[in-house]
């Protein structure tokens, strides 16, 4: 029997260039999808950050895999501060005020300080890094993030010998995020995440300020977020306001919500299932099929496996 193997990428999977270039118009139209035609004519594009980020260096850490269309990456979001449905952040985050913005870096460091967004943007040369991004829900995307290794920022404040972990905290403001309440979202706020210091210092751990050549759209975690490509997506905390170096393992939001389901480490691991579903395969959006094999550490094993040598990854899920 002849079984025709479909090409990995068909022409129709590629976003037409004009659509890509005009994506902000589509984003602006999203709140009233049914009025698309009319909405396209109204100049609401400014609601999105979307400033071009010039002088990007291409990173050798990038994958050569086909990138996901920005339309998917901006309309399929887990950002519970703006609603628990995947399509809600694109709608409800549009007026999110991300300027002025400061990130406080504190705790066990020699030089604690507050960084303005301007300072963060200029702290190190901006790189474009195309990473695989694997959600704990078993879907994945490939995104050209923009930023630099988190270590650049951490080195600047000089962690002391006491610092063993890094705790991150997201912005939380009920006036801007009326849905960000435990009785609505089922999780606690503000959203907090954490990494071991050696994980945070790993060159792959990215302090991210943009994607697809531009600043981050609000629903993707503007103005500054973390991207930890070998861990499930929820570790990559969005809209960061605080980074604190601490001596013991910090609490993390999803772990508090479901300790059996979401561990502190949450490394991508096809062999350790989520209690409610298998993690062996993933759906590479926009494909409808969940047939893409999930790789150990999301394909970054050769770089990061050493961080966990001797650890039982079944226990430390």
């Amino acid at each position: 029997m002849l079984i025709r193997r479909p090409a990995d990428l068909r022409q129709r999977d590629v976003t037409p260039k004009q659509v890509y270039l005009d994506r902000r118009k589509f984003l602006a139209a999203a709140p009233a999808a049914f009025l698309t035609a009319r909405e396209l004519l109204s100049p609401r594009g400014e609601a999105l950050a979307g400033t071009k980020l010039p002088n990007l260096t291409k990173s050798p850490l990038s994958t050569t895999e086909q990138m996901t269309s920005p339309d998917v990456v901006t309309h399929y979001n887990n950002f519970y501060e703006f609603g628990t449905s995947k399509n809600e952040p694109a709608r409800y985050a549009q007026n999110f005020k991300t300027s002025p913005w400061t990130v406080s870096v504190e705790g066990d460091v020699v030089k604690p300080r507050k960084f303005s967004m301007d300072e963060i943007l200029k702290l190190a040369p901006l790189e474009e890094r195309i990473y695989r991004h694997r959600c704990v829900e078993a879907w994945s995307i490939v995104v050209p993030w923009i930023g630099y290794s988190l270590s650049a920022l951490l080195n600047l404040v000089q962690p002391t010998a006491k610092a063993k972990y890094v705790a991150f905290e997201s912005y939380w403001d009920l006036r801007q995020m009326p849905l960000a309440q435990p009785d609505k979202a089922g999780i606690e706020f503000p959203y907090v995440e954490g990494l071991r210091l050696d994980e945070a210092m790993h060159p792959l751990a990215l302090l991210c300020v943009g994607m697809y050549g531009e600043t981050l759209p609000p629903q993707d975690g503007a103005p500054v977020r973390l991207v930890v490509p070998w861990k499930y997506g929820f570790k990559s905390i969005k809209s960061i306001v605080k980074i604190k170096l601490v001596g013991s393992q910090p609490p993390t939001t999803w772990n508090m919500a479901g300790p059996r389901e979401y561990g502190f480490y949450s490394n991508v691991n096809p062999e350790v299932d989520h209690p409610r579903w298998s993690q062996a395969k993933e759906q590479r959006l926009p494909s409808i099929f969940k047939n893409h094999p999930t790789q150990m550490f999301n394909g970054y094993a050769s770089q990061v496996a050493g961080l966990y040598s001797g650890m039982d990854l079944r226990k430390n899920y």
Partner: protein
């Protein structure tokens, strides 16, 4: 007024209208599926209204659309009997079978979405899922229990089984409804508002029946306890 409502309910057209309404979600699904397959320019012609934008995750879209309509139609089907009595419109009974069958129809599509797109008909994996994952077990139970109900929904089967036995068999829908709610509650990550909403609806609809049956039994008991008229 009540006469016109009643004759309206009896008309063949209301049933046809119900069919059309119940098919609307399916039509939406077909339109989106066609948009994926044909990749037309969605800003032109009819597409602009049918599919203003492609859902970013087609598997999610199909799963949620079919699952949502299954549970909605189960709840609506369960509401028919209480509503008949509460509103005094016994003719609503005409809608119960089609509504139940449409619930089963969307349940089939929901199950098929899982079998095909999520599991690619890997029956070994599917069986592992059903045995190991409580939310799949619950969903599978809800679906399987609907199968005998759909099969015996015809007049012929009501006759063959006899009204009483048929009715007893079809009480399985109560278990199916509860299993469907549990399935929904167990599958969401943290926001349980919608599963709780459906759970509350199902609870009220089942409680209605419990109250009615208790009252009925109490009435029968008092009737039985009454001393028989003395024979003269």
């Amino acid at each position: 007024m009540s006469i016109s409502v009643s004759s309206g309910l009896k008309s063949r057209w209301t049933k046809a209208l119900l069919f059309l309404l119940c098919l609307l979600p399916f039509a939406h699904l077909v339109a989106v599926a066609l948009a994926y397959i044909l990749q037309p320019d969605l800003s032109t012609g009819l597409w602009r209204f049918l599919v203003p934008s492609l859902p970013p995750n087609p598997l999610d879209f199909f799963t949620h659309l079919t699952g949502d309509w299954t549970i909605r139609l189960i709840v609506i089907t369960l509401a028919i009997t209480p509503l008949r009595k509460l509103l005094g419109v016994p003719d609503l009974i005409r809608f119960r079978r089609p509504l139940g069958l449409f619930a089963f129809f969307y349940g089939c599509l929901h199950f098929l979405t899982y079998l095909w797109f999520d599991k690619l008909f890997d029956f070994h994996e599917i069986w592992k899922d059903v045995a190991k994952r409580p939310f799949i077990t619950a969903g599978f139970t809800a679906f399987v229990l609907m199968v005998p109900l759909a099969l015996t929904s015809t007049k012929g089967w009501i006759r063959r089984l006899g009204g009483k036995r048929w009715q007893r068999l079809h009480r399985l829908i109560y278990v199916s409804a509860i299993a469907a709610v549990v399935h929904y509650y167990w599958l969401v990550k943290s926001d349980v508002r919608l599963p709780l909403f459906y759970g509350a609806l199902v609870a009220v609809l089942l409680l209605c029946r419990l109250v009615v049956s208790i009252m009925k039994r109490a009435r029968q008991r008092t009737a039985a306890a009454k001393p028989a008229p003395a024979e003269a």
